[in-house]
Amino acid sequence: MSSATFSATTAGPHLPLYTTRARSHDQNPMFDPLKKSASFLGSSTKLSFNSTTTTKLTRANSVARSPIVAVSEVKEKKSKPISNLLITKEEGLDLYEDMILGRAFEDMCAQMYYRGKMFGFVHLYNGQEAVSTGFIRLLKKEDSVVSTYRDHVHSLSKGVPARAVMSELFGKTTGCCRGQGGSMHMFSKEHNVLGGFAFIGEGIPVATGAAFSSKYRREVLGKADCDHVTCAFFGDGTANNGQFFECLNMAALWKLPIVFVVENNLWAIGMSHLRATSDPEIWKKGPAFGMPGVHVDGMDVLKVREVAKEAIDRARRGEGPTLVECETYRFRGHSLADPDELRDPAEKAHYAARDPISALKKYMFENNLASEAELKAIEKKIDEVVEDAVEFADESPHPDRSQLLENVFADPRGFGIGPDGRYRCEDPKFTQGTAHV
C-alpha cells in the first residue's frame, strides 16, 4: 500500500484578500495538484516551504496523484508501494458502501423531517462523506470518535446501526440513547462514539481527555498495549474557538494519541470562514503548537484516507497529535431550518461536481476495481437498510413516562457509595430521604 509521503504541491490562482468567494469557480479549480503556482485562498503572498518539505517535493511518489496540497513537517515513511492503486477492491467497496449509507441516510432524514417524524435541530452531512469514511473506516472498535452536532454519519461510519440512529432521531425508546439524546447527541459506549455535542468546541477537550485516558491506561494502569486513538471532528468555525487552541497546546505538550480533523466546509451557518478568520489556513495552526498540520482535499476519499492513515499511525506509535484540515463542502444548508441563501449557487455547483461518491465510483471503474452491477447492488442494499431503519423507527414505541426521571445519575438514588463499596440506597438500614417527583 502506498504510504503517504506528505509531498507538497500547491495550486490555485491569485485572488484578492477578504473575498467571500475565495474558491473561485469560474477560474481553474483550486488545489489541482498538477498546477504549480503557489498561492492559497486569497493570500497575496506565495506559500513558502522550509527545506524539508521542498526535498519531499522533488521526490514525488509514484501514485497517480499526490494526496495532499500543503503540509508542514511530517515524518516520511520509507516503504515502497506494491501496486499503483491506493485501495484494494474490498476496501473500495467498503468505502463506497459507507459513503452511500451516509448519503442515503441523510437524504432520508430530510424527507422524514419534512414529514414531521423528526424534529428540533437536524444537521445533515451531505457532501462531506469522504471525511467521515476516510478517517473512521480506518479506526478500530476501541478507538474513539467525538463529533459536533453534525454527527449522524460519524456514528454510522463508526458502526452504530442505522436502525439505532434513525430511532434516536425519531425520539423512540429503541434509539441509541433511548430517545433522550436526539440528533445532536449521539452516544454509543459499545462503538466508542463519545458524542454528539451541540456546543462546538466542547467535543475537542472531551476527545483530548479520551486520548489522555488511553495514554494513562498505558503508562499508569499498566496496559502496555493500549494504543487507542481518538479522532475529534469539528468545523472551520470551531477552529476559532478558545478550547481548540487550549487542546492543541495540551495534546502536543503531553503527546496525546489524537487526530484533530477540521471539516472546513467554508461556512459556519451563514458566516463565511474568510470573514471570521484572520488567517484562514487552519492547518498552519498545528505547527504553531508543535504538531504537524496537513491540508487535504476533503472531497476525495482516497486522499483523505492516505492522510488519515499517517495521522492515525503517528498517534498509535505514540508520536503525538496531528491537525488535519479537510477542504470539504456541505451540499445542504447548515441545518434543515436554514434557508441557505447566502451561498453562491455557482460555488455550490462547483462542489457538487466534485461529489466524493461520484469521484470514488469513477476511480473504481477506471481501475477495474468494481463493475457497475456491484455498485448498483450496494446502492440497492443500502436503500433497503435505510428503509428498514425508518420502518423500525416508525414501529418502535415512544419512551415510557417513567423514563423521564431515569438516568440522571448512575447512582440510583443519589446517596452515594458506602464504605463497603455498595450503593447506600441498597443498604436496608439507610433511611430514604430525598423528595420524589
Binding site: 433522550q180 466542547e202 477537550p205 472531551v206 452515594g416 430521604g433 430525598t434
Partner: protein, 377 residues
C-alpha cells in the same frame, strides 16, 4: 459531635499575611468558646483532612488522578495536594497550563473512559471558564446517553468569599450548580465532613462539584477514630444536625455553620434554643431532615454567603412552605450575602456577608423577640 473552632495561629499556609490577619481578626472579634472533649480525640485541619482523603483514595484506586493548576510542583495553590506529586508521580498529579475549559473537558473525556479525575479549580470563580464542561459534558451525559456513559469526576476547589480578595474572587456557586440535574453538589464544613464527603465524591459514579472554603482550610476540628479509617465515607444527600434545639431551625453550610453555631450559643442566653443543620449536600438537598426539623421547631432561618436572589435559602424556604406550611409559626427568613458584587474595603466587605449578629437578629425576629442589649458579641 459539635464542631469547634480553636483560636490558634494558623500555620503560614495562607496566601498572604493579610488574609491571615483578617482571619484572626474575625476570630478574635467573637467570644471564643472552648468545649471540653475527651483527651484521646485527634484534631485535624480541614486542609489535612482533604489531603489525607485524596491520598487514601489515590492509593486505593490507580484510576484516580488529580489535575489542575499548581497541584503538583507548587504542592497546591492552597497546599491541599501537598506531597501527592512525590508520592504518585506526574502522571497522576498533573500540572496543567492555565486552561480551565481545556482541562475540565479533558477530565470529562477521560472520565467517559472510566478514569476518575479530581479536577481542581484554584477557586470556583475560575470554574466559570469551564462551566460548559461541568454542566453540558459532565452533568448531562449520563442522561443524554441513556445511561451508557457515566462520568465519575470530581470538581473541587475553594468557593465563596475569602478575605479582601475582591469581586471576581468571592462569588459562591452553590446555587448555580445546585440547580443542575445530573450534578451532585457537596459543601463540607468540618474536617470530618471534608474527609468523608471527598471520599464519597471520589468513589461516586456521577459528577460531583465539591465546594470547599478557603478560610476553613486552616481550622482544626476534632475527628473520631472512625473518621480516620481509610474506608470512611459519608452519605451524599444527608444533612447533619450539628446542634439540637427546639425553638428555631437554622440551616447553613460551609463556613456559615460555624457562625450559626456561635449565634446559637448567644441565643441560648436569651432562652432561644436553636437547632443548627449543617446541610453538607446542596444537591441532592436533604429536604426530609430540614422539614422534620421545622415541624419540630416551627421557625426557620436559612443562612448562606451567596447572592440572595435564586439562592439556596430561596429553595429551602420554598421546600418548607410546600411541605410544612401548616407547621410554621412565623414567616421563614433567609440571610444571604448582600445583593452587590463583593467590595474590597474591609468594612464594606464585612457588611456584604452575614455576620454572627445578623443571624442572631434574624433568629430573634423570627421568634418575635426584641433585640436585647446583650445581643452583640
Amino acid at each position: 459531635m459539635l464542631g469547634t473552632i480553636r483560636q490558634k495561629a494558623v500555620a503560614a499556609r495562607s496566601l498572604s499575611s493579610q488574609v491571615l490577619e483578617n482571619d484572626l481578626m474575625r476570630l478574635r472579634s467573637v467570644a471564643s468558646v472552648m468545649r471540653h472533649y475527651s483527651a484521646g480525640t485527634k484534631e485535624m485541619t480541614v486542609r489535612d483532612a482533604l489531603n489525607s482523603a485524596l491520598d487514601e483514595e489515590m492509593a486505593a484506586d490507580p484510576s484516580v488522578f488529580v489535575m489542575g493548576e499548581e497541584v503538583g510542583e507548587y504542592q497546591g495553590a492552597y497546599k491541599i495536594t501537598k506531597g501527592l506529586l512525590d508520592k504518585y508521580g506526574p502522571e497522576r498529579v498533573v500540572d496543567t497550563p492555565i486552561t480551565e475549559a481545556g482541562f475540565a473537558g479533558i477530565g470529562v473525556g477521560s472520565a467517559y473512559h472510566g478514569l476518575r479525575p479530581v479536577v481542581e479549580f484554584m477557586t470556583f470563580n475560575f470554574s466559570m471558564q469551564a462551566i460548559d464542561h461541568i454542566i453540558n459534558s459532565a452533568a448531562k451525559s449520563n442522561y443524554m446517553s441513556a445511561g451508557q456513559i457515566n462520568v465519575p469526576i470530581v470538581f473541587r476547589g475553594p468557593n465563596g468569599p475569602a478575605a479582601g480578595v475582591g469581586a471576581q474572587h468571592s462569588q459562591c456557586y452553590g446555587a448555580w450548580y445546585g440547580s443542575v440535574p445530573g450534578l451532585k453538589v457537596l459543601v463540607p464544613y468540618s474536617s470530618e465532613d471534608a474527609r468523608g464527603l471527598l471520599k464519597a465524591a471520589i468513589r461516586d459514579p456521577d459528577p460531583v462539584v465539591f465546594l470547599e472554603n478557603e478560610l476553613l482550610y486552616g481550622e482544626s476540628f476534632p475527628v473520631s477514630a472512625e473518621a480516620l479509617n481509610s474506608s470512611f465515607c459519608l452519605p451524599i444527600g444527608k444533612a447533619k444536625i450539628e446542634r439540637e434545639g427546639k425553638d428555631i431551625t437554622i440551616t447553613a453550610f460551609s463556613k456559615m455553620v460555624g457562625y450559626a453555631l456561635k449565634a446559637a450559643e448567644i441565643l441560648e442566653k436569651d432562652g432561644i434554643s436553636a437547632e443548627v443543620i449543617n446541610l453538607r449536600s446542596i444537591r441532592p438537598l436533604d429536604r426530609a431532615t430540614i422539614n422534620a426539623s421545622v415541624r419540630k421547631t416551627n421557625r426557620l432561618v436559612t443562612v448562606e454567603e451567596g447572592f440572595p436572589q435564586h439562592g439556596i435559602g430561596a429553595e429551602i424556604c420554598a421546600s418548607v412552605v410546600e411541605d410544612s406550611f401548616g407547621y410554621l409559626d412565623a414567616p421563614v427568613e433567609r440571610i444571604a450575602g448582600a445583593d452587590v458584587p463583593t467590595p474590597y474595603a474591609a468594612n464594606l466587605e464585612r457588611m456584604a456577608f452575614p455576620q454572627i449578629e445578623d443571624i442572631v437578629r434574624a433568629a430573634r425576629r423570627v421568634c418575635y423577640r426584641k433585640s436585647s442589649i446583650a445581643a452583640s458579641a
